[in-house]
């Protein structure tokens, strides 16, 4: 019927880029399972998959009570030694039975939630992407948030991050399509200062590649959001130009080199990134911000030179 998920992204609570051995320990959330890593084009490591069993109401735009039983998959990752993510998702399918089955049934289908009774995919998708749902409805955000908490509370972190910043939440929902020749597409919406909603239509055979894509989009959205917030508070704050630039320094050192859109994303779903680059145009806004910072720094240097020669 559909796949949905939520990604929470935040600044890893450590003063420096976390080295590999510590990263492996922080992400070792499931004893006996391996932490996967890749170094190129950027250091990236991801925890083993965790399963959370759920038996609760599913979101629905119509307000209908739909019961869902199954499991949610979640995982945590660290990119560039600085950015931490908690990500949870599940595929929703129609249950073949009209009642809850034994747990062994659900455990053989990790990451699948079966909707019991009458349910329409579009109704659930709109409910998930829309306004808040009644208490007791499946809360993927809580699962992703806790997965990120598990990373952030590790005693391997020194808890002296280069700056303080908010987490952002990216809620995403994918409707599969069987229409031949259709490319993956998506719309992106900023719902609140910290919540983004991504609604995608993807050829059925490529739905599996979506989790990586959404985590990558969430990462870049967080980078952009964080940079803009830091620029706002640094550049509008009191002090001389040099002091204002100095306040931006940690952000420059920590964030600027992490921008690498779609680096780990499957070819088949790249069209989604491309369409989002047209609107809202992540990279365009990122580059504009980076050049504004560079201009400020150049002006700052010029001012210093002038005062030195005056």
């Amino acid at each position: 019927m559909l796949t949905f998920g939520e990604v929470h992204t935040g600044l890893l609570q450590n003063s420096t880029s976390l080295p590999w051995d510590a990263t492996a320990e922080v992400l070792n959330l499931l004893v006996g399972e391996q932490v996967r890593r890749s170094e190129r084009p950027m250091a990236y490591a991801v925890s083993p998959n965790l399963l959370t069993s759920v038996d609760c109401r599913l979101p629905a735009a119509s307000g209908k009570v739909i019961r869902g039983v199954g499991t949610v998959v979640s995982r945590a990752s660290i990119t560039g030694g600085h950015v931490a993510q908690g990500s949870g998702h599940a595929v929703v399918v129609k249950s073949t039975a009209n009642r809850r089955l034994s747990w062994s049934h659900y455990l053989t289908r990790p990451g699948t939630i079966e909707a019991i009774g009458k349910a329409v995919g579009g109704d659930i998708a709109r409910g998930f992407a829309g306004a808040s749902q009644p208490m007791g409805t499946l809360d993927l955000g809580a699962i992703s948030g806790r997965t990120l908490d598990a990373v952030q509370r590790s005693t391997r972190l020194d808890r002296h991050p280069p700056f303080r910043t908010q987490r952002t939440h990216m809620r995403w929902v994918v409707t599969p399509t069987d229409e031949p020749g259709v490319e993956a597409t998506g719309t992106f919406r900023v719902a609140t200062p910290t919540l983004r909603v991504l609604e995608l239509v993807v050829p059925r055979e490529h739905v599996g590649a979506i989790v990586d894509l959404c985590e990558d989009l969430a990462l870049h959205d967080w980078l952009l959001t964080t940079l803009l917030a830091l620029m706002e508070s640094s550049l509008t704050g009191p002090g001389t130009r040099a002091q204002r630039i100095a306040r931006l320094r940690p952000a420059i050192d920590t964030l600027l080199h992490l921008w690498m859109p779609a680096a780990r994303v499957d070819e088949a779903v790249q069209p989604v990134w491309q369409s989002l680059e047209r609107r809202p145009g992540f990279t365009r806004q990122w580059e504009a911000s980076v050049s504004r910072i560079r201009d400020q720094m150049t002006l700052g240097t010029l001012a210093l030179l002038e005062s030195a020669t005056a």
Binding site: L11, Q13, M135, R164, Q166, R167, S233, T236, P238
Partner: protein
């Protein structure tokens, strides 16, 4: 950084003073949040002029969060939600000012492993985004105090800087009560030790703040007779001696807030406007709030004694 605001007696000015301190630190540019852990009487909404939350919230506040009823507690952005015009927009250069209200009709509750764990998780989470989190506890030896002592003893919170402000009025009863709350039986140090804190470390992270103090040298007392002023001075000196002997004296004093006519009549934030244009609040009060806002984050004021 986590700041815990406590007092032995109710009505000492703990909430009003700590709200004003936090407001000044937001104006100084820090991102700050205020957590209303006074579960019996959540008054912070009134101090920050949030019309929907005058006596706590019904939208899943800290109470609901700690009981596991909501995944995250409600947050109110003061610069957007306050109905007081001087608070309604964020002044240039100011940081975020966020309130996490208590629930209306909440009430105290005993601590459990679960709510202590949720409390620790909340502190860790807020520490990611705020320079300063100020937790207003219930007066006296409360469950709230025990919960935060248990939560901050958690190994994951070890590296978070934590400081305690103990508020008291400048009277004999209040000095004795404040001393008892810190050093006495089942006091903060004792309870902290039971939960795994190092007693000395905890004692070093704790300072006193005097509220509604009448300064005998204040020009405002010019109307008093010489005999009255002399008497005030005597009392003040005796109190100072008592305070020192009870380890509540000058060496552990972080600040003194003068008695202010505006605060005497209303629990509120004092704005620059109240002092400079409307001239209803005293300049000295504002300066003390400003100075405390700087001192709570200034390591020099917290050097080991």
């Amino acid at each position: 950084m986590l700041i815990f605001a406590t007092s032995d007696k109710g009505g000492t000015g703990r909430s009003v003073t700590s709200s004003n301190i936090l407001y000044r630190s937001a104006l100084q540019g820090s991102d700050v949040c205020y957590l209303d852990f006074d579960f019996g009487s959540p008054t912070s909404g009134a101090i920050f002029n949030i019309p929907t939350t005058l006596h706590g919230t019904t939208q899943g506040g800290l109470h609901s969060y700690l009981h596991g009823m909501v995944a995250d507690p409600q947050r109110l952005e003061i610069w957007q939600e306050s109905d007081r015009s001087s608070l309604r927009s964020r002044p240039p250069g100011a940081g975020r000012l966020v309130l996490l209200p208590g629930d209306s009709g909440g009430g105290e509750f005993p601590i459990t492993k679960e709510n202590t764990e949720r409390c620790a998780r909340l502190f860790l989470h807020l520490e990611e985004e705020f320079d300063l989190c100020l937790v207003d506890l219930s007066a006296g030896r409360s469950y709230a105090t025990e919960m935060v002592l248990a939560a901050t003893a958690n190994e994951a919170l070890r590296n978070i800087r934590t400081r305690w402000l103990v508020f008291h009025r400048w009277t004999r009863q209040h000095v004795l009560a404040a001393s008892g709350l810190v050093y006495g039986e089942r006091g903060i140090l004792h309870t902290g030790e039971n939960h795994g804190h190092d007693r000395e470390e905890l004692a070093n992270s704790l300072r006193f703040v005097r509220t509604a103090v009448v300064n005998p040298d204040s020009p405002e007392l010019e109307g008093l007779r010489p005999a009255q002023i002399a008497w005030l001075r005597d009392v003040d000196r005796d109190l100072s001696e008592l305070a020192s002997s009870r380890k509540v004296g000058r060496t552990l004093l972080l600040g003194s807030i003068p008695l202010d006519p505006v605060l005497q009549w209303r629990e509120q934030l004092i704005s620059d406007n109240d002092v400079w244009s409307r001239r209803i609040a005293n300049r000295e009060t504002l300066e003390q709030f400003d100075s405390l806002a700087k001192k709570i984050v200034d390591d020099a004021a917290w050097e080991t004694l």
